[in-house]
């Protein structure tokens, strides 16, 4: 089971189901150690204006063997800007993957569904492997699947909030309706939440703050990797059904009494 249980996104195969964001780390060395400890094969990156003396992540990430880069469109306020960011990201990363994120309101960073949908339609036609960051909306998720997205990435809770899987019931609905991978992105804090998402049938989990803002990011990255693997294993094993009544696991035949 383990060998054939690959994550397939837009025809690309991955052994790891943990996707790591590379932001917010204390420095590049810690980030790279966390990526290695997580054993992840897909990481998100952002675009930034070149500026003298600021670390360029391109070279260090290129040295990590077997790593696929997924540039995001962070900073885009509408579909037009997101498409431009995606094209620029592809120029540098050489990767067809793009995480479409359009969140115009800095207060809650909730994704704009209309602009996101428009950007995804355009990018899917331009041969990108499109993974949109969306609110946990089953209708939008289905529309994005029909538009040619390779996966959908509903949020667990607000970006960087550490509030966990607030949208769990909606994510379950998305999974039940979806024939493309569903990846929980944003809001997770603890590895147990990642395991819960995987047990429910998520195909992968994307975390950044939960690792980068941990006291020990490298150990936390390894913890998330184990939680994601355990959750996936449990999903494949098939959870027992839930009931309201107790069902004894030991024989109740009376032999101690009279």
């Amino acid at each position: 089971m383990a060998e054939s249980d690959e994550l397939i996104i837009g025809g690309h195969r991955f052994g790891s189901r943990l996707i790591l964001g590379t932001g917010k780390f204390a420095d590049t060395a810690v980030m790279l150690d966390a990526v290695k400890a997580a054993g992840c094969e897909l990481v998100t990156v952002a675009l930034r204006r070149f500026s003298e003396g600021v670390d360029d992540l391109c070279a260090p990430l290129a040295e990590c063997a077997g790593l696929t880069l997924m540039p995001n469109t962070s900073g885009a306020r509408n579909a037009r800007e997101a498409v431009r960011a995606a094209q620029a990201g592809r120029e540098i990363s050489g990767s067809p993957f793009v995480k479409v994120e359009i969140h115009p309101n800095p207060h809650h960073l909730m994704p704009d569904p209309i602009e996101t949908y428009q950007a995804c339609c355009e990018l899917a036609k331009d041969d990108f492997v499109v993974l949109p960051y969306i609110a946990a909306d089953p209708v939008l998720a289905k529309r994005l699947e029909d538009a040619g997205c390779a996966a959908v990435m509903p949020l667990g809770s607000a970006i960087g909030s550490g509030q966990g899987l607030q949208t769990f019931a909606m994510i379950e609905l998305i999974i039940s309706e979806s024939s493309i991978p569903v990846i929980v992105d944003a809001g997770l804090r603890a590895p147990s939440e990642a395991a819960a998402a995987m047990e429910a049938g998520c195909s992968a989990v994307l975390v950044n703050s939960a690792v980068a803002a941990a006291e020990n990011p490298v150990v936390m990255a390894a913890a998330f990797a184990q939680a994601v693997a355990a959750g996936r294993m449990a999903y494949n094993a098939g959870l027992m059904s839930r009931g309201t009544d107790a069902v004894a696991t030991s024989p109740l035949t009376a032999f101690l009494g009279r």
């Binding site: 930034r48 204006r49 360029d56 070279a59 880069l69 990201g89």
Partner: protein, 66 residues
């Protein structure tokens, strides 16, 4: 001629090519993306992209992000 490079005014000789602006950063050309007046200019076209006075040029690199 004056251009706006990453949000700041910069002076280049008239008819400068986009490749020359990229060279000024000292970064490898394959490690940056270039945008001129809101259009992404692919790497292969930088050497034939002549800049004009007032052009808005963005040179982007990869940074950490979620």
């Amino acid at each position: 001629m004056n251009i706006v490079l990453n949000g700041e005014h910069a002076e280049f000789p008239a008819g400068a090519l986009l490749t020359e602006v990229v060279e000024c950063t000292g970064l490898l050309p394959e490690r940056v993306a270039t945008i001129v007046n809101e259009n992404v200019v692919p790497r292969a076209q930088r050497s034939v992209t002549e800049l004009n006075d007032g052009d808005i040029v963005e040179i982007l690199t990869l940074a950490g992000g979620g």
